[in-house]
Structure formats: structure tokens, C-alpha cells
Amino acid sequence: MKPLVIANKTFHSRLFTGTGKFSSSLLMEEALLASGSELVTVALKRVDTQNPNDDILKHLAHPQFNLLPNTSGVRNAKEAVFAAQMAREALETHWLKLEIHPDPKYLLPDPVETLKAAEELVKLGFIVLPYIHADPVLCKRLEEVGVAAVMPLGSVIGSNKGLQTKDFLQIIIEQSKVPVVVDAGIGAPSHAAAALEMGADAVLVNTAIAVSEQPVPMAKAFKLAVEAGRMAYEAKLAQPKNFAEPSSPLTSFLD
């Protein structure tokens, strides 16, 4: 399988993971290790960066886990840029999952503020991965301002409803020059496999693993599904056909 490269960094796993909602930090650690994930997002508001023994960060201290701090909690571009700078300083990484969701109910991303913040953060030297609606035009605009990847949602975050935005994800995948990471809504390994089969470069999964009865085997299941989906994509999937292939073709008389 081809490794994934984002901003000159190579990932062998195409499963990115979240750190929220787990019943303990230890279980989070075990599940993330089982997932094979190499990029792990963590909410700045959940960690105490002043505390060297922070429970979450302590359990993420493995060489294979690259931290992807996120800006969850900010309501606009200004707050996002400020939080990003704090995250960079505290966690010593330029990588950033930019998420601006002023709507605390459905946590839907604000496209206007996200574009504004992305532009500024790229100029400040961040490697920006913005969480956005599955909006193909917005993805192109973000690409133009220099984001490292785009992270369109599959469905409402935490909903486990899968790829409800499939038609738009397909356009995004077709048009994008930067990696496409399907984020939010992936509730089952089959959803993750479907995203990879479609040509998504990676998926980000949190709720479906964390809230599962058994997060460790579930993480493993996602790992396998992502690998299967990618492998199938690279092997070129057989396309379902909308027309029949008759044994006596109508145009055979031309041969």
C-alpha cells in the first residue's frame, strides 16, 4: 500500500484518531495503539499543558503517535489563531486541526471563519488541516490558501451515520490536489472502508471507537477496514455497471 504523505511527513496508517469520550486514558492508549494510528488529535482545552503529568498527554507519549492539536471551543478565526499559537508553543508542533464550530449543538464548522483562519495560520507557518463541511468549493479555496489537507465531514460529528455527504465527498476527492481526510460521522468499519474505496486518503475516527463496548477490538477492526478499503482502491475496484454487456453487440457488424 502506498504510504500517505502530508506536508512531507509519511504516514503508514491511514487511520487518524481522536482522544475524547474514552472511559479512561489507559483504555484510550490501548485502543489507539491497537488502531495503528500515527496521527492523534487532542483538544487543547482537555489537556493541562502546564502539567508534565497530564493524564491524557502521558498516555499519548509513544513515538508512533504524532499529536494533532485541535482548536475545539473557539468560535471565530481570531480565537482560533490565538489558540493555535498557544497549542504550538505548549505541544511543540506546527500541526493543527483547525476546527471552528460556533454552533455547540451540532458542532458544524463555520466555513467563513475557517477560511479566514486557515489563510492566516498558513502564513504563520502552521501545517493546517481544517475540519469543514463537505463543500467542494470551500475545499478548493482552502487549497489555494495553502492548507496541507482538507477534512470534510461524512455526517454530523458523533452521529455514527456514515457517509451521508458521499456525492460531495466524491467531487472533493476528484478535484483535490491535497489529501482528503474524511472526518466525523464514521460509525462503523464499513463506513471507513467505503471512504477509502472511494479514494479518500485517510479517515479520522473517534466516537465509534471510544464509545464502543470494547474499544480495543473496535480500533483493530477500523485498522483492518481502512487497510482493506485502501488496498481495494489501489487494486482498482470493479465498477458496478449501469448497462448490460450483450453477447451479440449491436455494433459488431462494424468490425
Binding site: 472511559s23 498557544m86 455547540p104
Partner: protein, 377 residues
Amino acid sequence: MSSFKEIFNSHTWSEVQQSISSKTVKDVEHALQKEKRDIEDFKALISPAAEAYLEQMAQLSHLLTQKRFGKTMQMYAPMYLSNECQNICTYCAFSLDNKIKRKTLSDAEIIQEAEAIKAMGYDHILLVTGEANQSVGVPYLKHAIQLLRPYFSNISIEVQPLEQAEYEVLRQEGLHTVLVYQETYHQENYKTHHPKGKKSNFYYRLETPDRLGKAAIYKIGLGILIGLEDWRTDSFFTALHLNYLEKTYWQTKYSISFPRLRPIELAKEDGQHIQPASQYISDKQLVQLICAYRIFNEEVELSLSTRESETFRNHSLKLGITSMSAGSKTNPGGYSVEPQSLEQFEISDERSPKEIAHIIKQQGYEPVWKDWDKILS
């Protein structure tokens, strides 16, 4: 769009009460099967007809809560800054006519209490006062937040209703959440429960969440004091208020609390002790109410204080509750400065935060101490 006052005035208490009690088993089943529930479904879920569906409601509430909030429980502690109050509230130990020793914490005492609370592991704090604008007005609150900001990531208040501009001032100092309970939506009886003081103005209180929304406060906590009036009808109005607020101030988070009346020490001049709680809610009904809120609104935070018993709290943390206090003191200075002073209400669960955290973990949940950062506000 109509204001909440208009929406509120388009309902009458007795019609709502009648409508809830006429909900049938069919209405309950319909509400449970739907994917998205409306306010009529909420009525069905809190109706007597739903009592037979309690286990089903609990299962659904449990699943929906885990989906949204994960296996976590947010922890917070109240800090009572003052028991001075110019209001008469018939159910409250801090009522103006209650002859108790009044106390407002000084700067040094606030710091001393903060250190005691911090040592218990807390990072989210709720500041509580009575309503005494001379001693605990906006300048006092502003100063208290300034003092406490270095200690806590997340600061909430539960104080007298303020003006929009005043909330804005406090938000700029780092205030995150404001809890303001209507106590009851029964307009006529509201006056009986709150005969004197600024609090007796029903509509000023009713429109406080609007001022909070306009002031861009991050989270607004709603609730009623269960036991003052018919809890079902009062809860309907709370849900109606929540619906209105979510649509109007869509950038704001919301939480609901479930304070129910508990015995208080009321040393009246004539030595008489008042026993309110004429509209008592049973444990079973409180579970029904918690589950009904969750099934009605998957995103709203639900909070349970130490007013509730150990057994109730042990079991209800899986049913839909998302935040809890523990080891609370409801008297100013109660943690360290003056532990023996009169409490606002007797807490029922006296276990320490450590013990509660242990119970939470035992049940397969992670106690969350920090879920906000100073840099965000």
C-alpha cells in the same frame, strides 16, 4: 421571531398541565420510536403514561448520552462567596428574613477557599452568591473572577440576574457559564414564593437568558426548583425555554439542572420551621425527568448536585447526567475559612471528590476535571 415572553404568554399553566396528563401510552411509544422529538413528545415523556416505560427510557437515554458525551463525567465544585441577600424566598436559608450570620468572603478568604478547592482536584468552579447589590454587586464579582482566574480553567456563576452589559464585563474577565434558574414558571405563585426583593420581578428573571445570549456568554444553565409547583408543567416550560434559546442564541451551550427541595434550616423569628415541598418529586419521577430531557434533546448538558443521595447519584450517572459536583460546601468559607457556618441547603452526598471519582471510574466512566482553557475566553 417572537420573544420568549410572547411565547410564554401564549400558553396557560392549566392547559399545559391538562395536555401533559392527557398523554397516552400511544403518545409515549410514538415519542420513543421517533428519531427527532418535539415539545409534544417531551410532554408525553414526562407524563404519567410514560412511567411504565421507565426502563426503556433509561436505556435510550444512556445510549444517546454516551454517543454525544462519551463515557465521561464533567466535575465541578461550587464556591459560595456570600450569603448576604436582599430577597425573601420562602424556601431558602439565605432569605432576608432568616436571622443568620451574614458573611461575604474577603480577597484573602477567596484565595484560601480557591486553594482548598484546587487541592481537591477541581479545575471548573461555580461561584454562588445571594442578591445583595451593595456587597456582592458586579464590581465584587468582577474582582472575584480576576482573583480566581489563575486557579481555574472554567468559571461559572450562579448569582442575581444582571444586565447584558454587566454580563459582558464579566465575560471579558473570563466568565464562561451563568446558571439562572427560573425557580418556577407559575407566574402567580412565583410571587408567593418570592414576596420581596428584586427577585420578585417574574419577567426580569424570565428574560435573563436572553440578556445572557446577547452578551455571548458561552453556556447558560436553566432549571426550576423542583418542589415549588407541579414539576411536569414547570419542566415543560423549561423545555420550551430551551427550544427558544437554542434557536435564538445558536452559538450558546445549554445545561439543565435538577435541584429539588431539601430540608433547610429556617430560623424564623417566631422559631417556626417551614416545611415547603408540597410538590414533591419521587426518585422514580426524577429519573423519568432526566431521561425525558435527554431523549428530547441529545446535546443539552444535564447536571446533578450533591443535594441528591449517594445511592441516587451512584445510579443516575449512567442515565443521562453529564456533570456532577462532589464534596460541595454550600456556605461561604465552607471549605476552609469557616466550615461551621450555615449552609444554603443540606447536602445529601457528603463523599469527597476522590471517592466520587472512584465510583465514576468503577462504573466505566472517566471523571473530567478540565474541559476548557483560559486562552479560550
